[in-house]
Symmetry: C2
Subunit: 193 residues, 2 copies
Amino acid sequence: MARPREFDETAAVEKAMHAFWEHGYEATSTQDLCEATGLGRSSVYNTFTSKRALFQRSLTHYTGTQLGKRQAILDGPGTAAERIAAVLDHAIEDDVEQRRRGCLVVNTLAELGLPDDEVGAALRDDTDQNLAMFAECVREGLLDGSLRDGLDPADVAEFLLSTTSGLRVMARRGTSRESMHAVADLAMNALTR
Amino acid sequence: MARPREFDETAAVEKAMHAFWEHGYEATSTQDLCEATGLGRSSVYNTFTSKRALFQRSLTHYTGTQLGKRQAILDGPGTAAERIAAVLDHAIEDDVEQRRRGCLVVNTLAELGLPDDEVGAALRDDTDQNLAMFAECVREGLLDGSLRDGLDPADVAEFLLSTTSGLRVMARRGTSRESMHAVADLAMNALTR
DNA sequence: CTGATTTTGGACTGATCAATACACAACCGG
DNA sequence: CCGGTTGTGTATTGATCAGTCCAAAATCAG
């Protein structure tokens, strides 16, 4: 019943996501969002309720695709150590490809902290899922022998999340791709022998 | 000649710094800055020209004190490895003490990137100075034997800057102090042994 | 005490902010 | 083809934004 949408909601969220990613939450105006999505103000508010709600949608869209890619690499072939190294490499290459905009999650954490709303919940969720993924892979690495004995999976998971977060910040600092790879190599050195 | 200032300029910068640190650049209004510093609008603009200029002053004030503390630790007693570990520990404790506001430099990089103005220049400067300090200490560590042979000082410097940046982000994620120390221990593991 | 110079307080600027109101357009089931 | 329902475009809301203006206040040199 009634008039159908003239646009694809997911595509609109994706375009909004890129706007937020590029300029940050505060610096992205609702006008910017209309222009980025190609929608009128009414459509934006009718569909997404508020700037903050659209941001939350953008953020979960980002974390969903990002976690999916990371999980795919961790589920891929090779030893656990190789897969973890591949995740670090991917983060670096992704950063360079994405014109050094860093990570939307890291940028949001830095700008907003952990707000007491759905945005904060989405950020916590992303952290938890990343830690769980990493920890599981570390457990596999202890079994396949590619990671050194005595490592605590939870601690290593935090270390890897810290390392990827650090690399994202380095991308924003303008660090060269080569230096970032050297950083990743050193990080792997802490886990293997 | 003429009427004297009724306030201490450096103290005002410091209060402004805390306001920016707490809420980020965009979310801190000039009204907030007046309230934080206790100054009227006229005094703020008469003294600091613009919001952006006051932010730049706040940022350089932050980097100055922060770099000073870090340098003091690196110039302190102990082996190079011990001093580097002390820098990581200090970053963690500082983060917890400062109510998990992270690092103003990291937050600014995440929010604004490297803008083409004095703010961007201050950020680059901070990066360069940190890298130089770390690299020098690594060179000492290669001589005193506390760091493993074959390490490239420049690469390790990037690794350490990435690690401290990552720890600052972890603080914003709400990571426990114990986990952060575990991360620091793992990072040191990449450099010793 | 006077005049020059600077700081200060408070009112004010136009622009922009997020969000809403409302008329009209487009589609559905009947 | 029509009534109900939803989407869309435009105008507009009040609030807030960064920044300015100006007159009063405070100090100094003379």
